[in-house]
Structure formats: structure tokens, C-alpha cells
């Protein structure tokens, strides 16, 4: 478990104190995929680097598995870092070393295994990330997605309990992003690894995370399960991220709504409710008519969800609302 207790970080730039992270408390349970989303400069990168103390906190305590990371001496910190893997936006592979040697590096630095044991471990890791046939190549000969796979294999080499991902997919195209995220989800599931990732894309959060914290100007402004935060965003920053992901333009939407009569509601279905034939049933029973203004059916990690914006006219509107509320859906009246 990773726990932040009133942790804050201030940089001193040109004689001025610039707060990067205001006092923040946070808990990441074991085996979770925890996402931090925010725009650049929101403090998410600082927060991530505080976990393995690439950044030293200005105050507060960071407890990992019962130990206070902020109190570690240099030696202890090194041993701790060997138990925390990290992958980077720009991969940070050594251009002078082969793929196999890059993956072996953390093991060589730790100096605990024989060369033979290291080679064997490297082969296993490369097989896991699907790069066995590229072992002898240099990073420059690989595609971006392959480079990040090498980064992941390298981060896993010391069998860490925690994996930190610093914008791991931001330099990749959408297809490669999907496959790298799939690999991360797989690792999380099979190795029971706790993953903390930072991103500026809601899509990344939606695909792999269990919990999400939204950051803005050095504060965590909203936090909860991904479904909760994604489907019912409260803070303006969160709403913006969700709209970006759904490619909704608020002004366009307002224009669209102006043209339709009746009431406008947004229904959110989750899990099995997504597949229930609710709209037809309610329309028949209450005599209302509906037209779909916007809709989306997708998945949050493994759970399907649907979100429909409807215009409702005629019939017994109040009865329809009651039916929606009684069913296993979340209803929001927009107008």
C-alpha cells in the first residue's frame, strides 16, 4: 500500500518558492491500477516521482508497505528503488546497449544474481512482452511501441511490487497505446502488481485504471473509482477531461438541444443494465416518445457502460422518470 500523508513539494526557482504539490493525502491499495490525470504542470509528475523519491518531498510522510520512504538513508533508498519499477514517456533506454542488456541492467546494478540467472530472467521477460526475437537489436532499430515494451520488461526485471508509469503511452499512436495498455493490465492481473500511472488522456484511465485522482494546479480536485469519476464528473477540470475523451463540444451540444422540444435527460447504464431493453419498455408503459440526441456504449476497464442523452416528449413524463429511477440506471435531468 502506498500512502501519502500531507505530502507537499515546493521548488525554489530564482529565489521564489513555486508550489508544485500542495499538501496531499492519498492511498493506493495493493494490486490497484491507480491513475493520476491532469494537464501539464498540474503536479502529477512531481507526485509520481515522490513515490520513489526521484523528487524529495518538502514535507509530509510517504508510507510504502508500512515503511516511511522519506526517512530512508541512501542505502535503504537504493534497495527500495529496486522494488519499484518505472517506465517513461520517452522510454529512456540506453542507446548503447542491446535490448537484452537494457533489460538486464537493473539486475546487474543490483548485483545479486549470477550472469546465467540474469540471462534466464531476461529471456523470460522478453518472452512476456513479446520481444524474444529482438534481444540482440539496439533500441534505435525498434518502433515506439517495442521500445516501451523493452521499458516495461526492464522495469519488471527486479520483480518489483510497484510499477510507476510516467506518461507511458503519450508518445505512442492510438493502436500502439492500446496494446501497451493491454500489456499493463495483463501484468497487473497476473503479477498482482500495484500500478500508479500518470496521463493527460481520460481514455488511458478508462481502459486500465481502477481508481483515479484528477489533479489541477497542485491539488487533487476529485478522486474515486473510475466509473464514479468518469460517468459523474463533478469538478470542472474532470468534466473537461471527460468531454475531451467523448469529443463533445459543450457549445455545439447546447445548440443541438435548443432545437428539440420536451425534457432532456441523461441516462447512465452500468454493467448488466447496459443490456436491458429499458427505453422500449418505459416508452410503451408510460406513452412517452423519445429521441436519442447523443449516446455512447463502451467499457470502463472490463465493465460495459452506456450513456444516452434523450429528448422526451408526450405521455406521462413523471411516470417515465419514476421508471428510470426505479431501474438500475442513473438519471440526470438536463432540462
Amino acid at each position: 500500500m502506498i500512502e501519502f500523508q500531507q505530502v507537499h513539494k515546493t521548488y525554489r526557482v530564482a529565489g521564489k518558492d513555486i508550489p508544485a504539490l500542495h499538501p496531499t493525502s492519498l492511498r493506493v491499495e495493493d494490486g490497484q491500477v491507480f491513475g493520476l490525470i491532469g494537464h501539464s504542470g498540474a503536479g502529477k509528475s512531481t507526485l509520481l516521482r515522490l513515490i520513489n523519491r526521484l523528487e524529495a518531498p518538502s514535507g509530509g510522510k510517504i508510507i510504502v508497505d508500512g515503511e516511511d520512504v522519506t526517512a530512508f538513508d541512501a542505502n535503504h533508498l537504493r534497495r527500495f528503488r529496486q522494488q519499484v519499477g518505472m517506465i517513461f514517456q520517452h522510454f529512456n533506454l540506453l542507446a548503447s546497449k542491446t535490448v537484452a542488456d537494457n533489460v538486464a541492467l537493473p539486475l546487474i546494478l543490483a548485483g545479486e544474481l549470477s550472469r546465467k540467472a540474469i540471462d534466464q530472467r531476461v529471456n523470460e521477460l522478453l518472452a512476456r512482452v513479446g520481444l524474444s526475437e529482438h534481444a540482440k537489436k539496439y533500441p534505435a532499430q525498434l518502433s515506439g511501441g517495442q521500445k516501451q515494451r523493452v521499458g516495461i520488461a526492464r522495469a519488471l526485471s527486479t520483480q518489483p511490487k510497484i510499477l510507476l508509469c510516467d506518461e507511458a503511452t503519450s508518445a505512442l499512436d492510438p493502436q500502439t497505446t492500446a496494446s501497451v495498455l493491454q500489456l499493463l493490465a495483463e501484468i497487473n492481473r497476473e503479477l498482482k502488481l500495484t500500478i500508479v500511472l500518470i496521463t493527460h488522456e481520460m481514455d488511458v484511465i478508462r481502459r486500465v485504471c481502477d481508481q483515479v485522482a484528477v489533479m489541477d494546479a497542485g491539488h487533487i480536485v476529485e478522486q474515486g473509482t473510475v466509473a464514479e469519476v468518469f460517468l459523474h464528473p463533478k469538478h470542472p477540470t474532470t468534466k473537461r477531461f471527460v468531454q475531451e475523451d467523448e469529443q463533445v463540444d459543450e457549445n455545439e451540444q447546447r445548440d443541438d438541444f435548443a432545437h428539440v422540444p420536451g425534457r432532456i435527460v441523461r441516462l447512465t447504464f452500468q454493467g448488466d443494465a447496459t443490456y436491458a431493453p429499458l427505453l422500449g419498455t418505459v416508452a410503451r408503459e408510460t406513452g412517452v416518445d423519445y429521441s436519442i440526441l447523443a449516446g455512447r456504449i463502451d467499457r470502463i476497464k472490463d465493465t460495459p457502460y452506456g450513456q444516452l442523452t434523450l429528448a422526451i416528449t408526450g405521455g406521462d413524463m413523471e411516470a417515465a422518470f419514476t421508471c428510470f429511477k426505479a431501474a438500475d440506471v442513473h438519471m440526470e435531468v438536463l432540462r
Binding site: 518505472m86 517513461f88 542507446a95
Partner: protein, 222 residues
């Protein structure tokens, strides 16, 4: 080839001078790299926003390096005489030339090493830190391998600079091709000797540059 055009050229002498140049070059390059590499690493580490940022140490090292670099080599050769005697027992000949050559080239080489290390992506240092590496491990396992192409380029440039420095070593009677060119080609107007030595020096520089370039390409892995 009709050698009568080169009536003044004593080929045995040319051969001896070539050997002297090679010994001076090899010896001084060896010690320059031996001393300059750690000095370059130290400069890099103490530099602004680096692992061991030490403003005072960096300023002092920088000052010494700059003073030595701004001193004309011919002056250094003379100023160094007492120290050279202390180290090699003589201030004359090839042995007398190597200490000033090393002192002249080391600061230059150290600066080039510092620059090559600065070219290494900071992300590489961060990644290695995140693996729990010690500073020593970061230097030997990440920084130096990553900077290898730049360091080979620095060795090449330094070797070529040393070739031109050896030409002045005649002042302390070190011999070599440059000395031959000055004593016979310039002072006795033996143009043929001048041409032969210059051509040989040119070939030497060309060979050094192309070998250096090949090493840089080989280690670039790009």
C-alpha cells in the same frame, strides 16, 4: 619514382622523426585520456544542475582548465621544464616532450568529455537512478557507455591537436616530423624536406580522423 627531386631528404632521418612523432603522440594521448577522462567526469558531475552540483569546485576546476587552455603551447613547454625534469628526469627529447604535451592537451580533452557527457539525455540518468543505481554505477553503467561516441570523437580531435603540438616539441629537442620541417624545411630552405614532412603529417591526421570517425559511427548504434 625519381628521388632526385628530393636530394636533401635523408629518408633514415625521416623514418626516425616519424617514429618520434608516433611515440610522442601515443604516449601523450595515453596519459591525456587517462587523466582527462576522470577530470571531464568530475567537471560534468560538479557542473550546474548535475548529480554533484558543487559551484565552488566547478568554478575552481573551470578556472584551472581555462588558464591551461589559454596558455600557448610553446610557452607551456618552457614553463613546464622544471616539472618535466621532476617527472621524467630530463627536459629533453621525446621523454621531455610528453609531460607538457599531456598538460597542454588534458584540459582541452576534459572539456570535450564534459560536453559529451552533457549530451546524454537526462532521462537516462533518471531511469538509472530509479533502478537504485549508485552514482558510481550511473557513471560506469550508463553515462560513459552512452557518451562513448562523443568521447571517441573527443579523443580523435585531441589526437589531431597533439600532432600539431608535437611540431613545437623540437624546442626541447624532442625531434619528430614537425621539428624536421622547421629545422630543414624552414631554417635551411630545403623545400623538399618540408613537403615530405607535411605530406606525412597530413597522412597521419587523415588516418587518425578516419579511424576516429569509424569508431564514432560504430558506437553510435543509430
Amino acid at each position: 619514382m625519381d628521388l632526385s627531386y628530393f636530394a636533401n631528404v635523408d629518408w633514415a632521418e625521416i623514418w626516425l622523426a616519424t617514429v618520434d612523432t608516433m611515440i610522442m603522440l601515443g604516449g601523450s594521448l595515453f596519459f591525456t585520456v587517462l587523466l582527462g577522462l576522470p577530470l571531464g567526469v568530475l567537471l560534468f558531475l560538479c557542473g550546474p544542475r548535475q548529480l554533484f552540483e558543487q559551484k565552488g569546485v566547478y568554478a575552481l576546476l573551470s578556472l584551472v582548465v581555462n588558464i591551461l587552455r589559454s596558455l600557448p603551447f610553446i610557452i607551456l613547454l618552457i614553463v613546464m621544464i622544471p616539472i618535466t625534469v621532476l617527472i621524467t628526469g630530463t627536459s629533453l627529447g621525446v621523454a621531455g616532450a610528453i609531460p607538457p604535451l599531456v598538460v597542454g592537451a588534458t584540459p582541452f580533452f576534459a572539456r570535450l568529455v564534459e560536453t559529451a557527457l552533457r549530451e546524454v539525455d537526462r532521462g537516462i540518468i533518471e531511469a538509472t537512478q530509479s533502478m537504485g543505481a549508485t552514482t558510481r554505477q550511473i557513471i560506469t553503467n550508463a553515462l560513459l557507455p552512452e557518451a562513448r561516441p562523443g568521447i571517441f570523437a573527443a579523443i580523435t580531435v585531441t589526437a589531431i591537436t597533439l600532432v600539431s603540438y608535437t611540431a613545437m616539441a623540437g624546442v626541447v629537442g624532442a625531434g619528430g616530423l614537425g621539428d624536421l620541417a622547421i629545422r630543414f624545411g624552414y631554417q635551411r630552405f630545403q623545400t623538399d624536406v618540408m613537403i615530405v614532412t607535411v605530406v606525412l603529417l597530413l597522412i597521419l591526421v587523415q588516418v587518425l580522423q578516419s579511424v576516429g570517425d569509424k569508431l564514432v559511427v560504430h558506437f553510435s548504434r543509430k
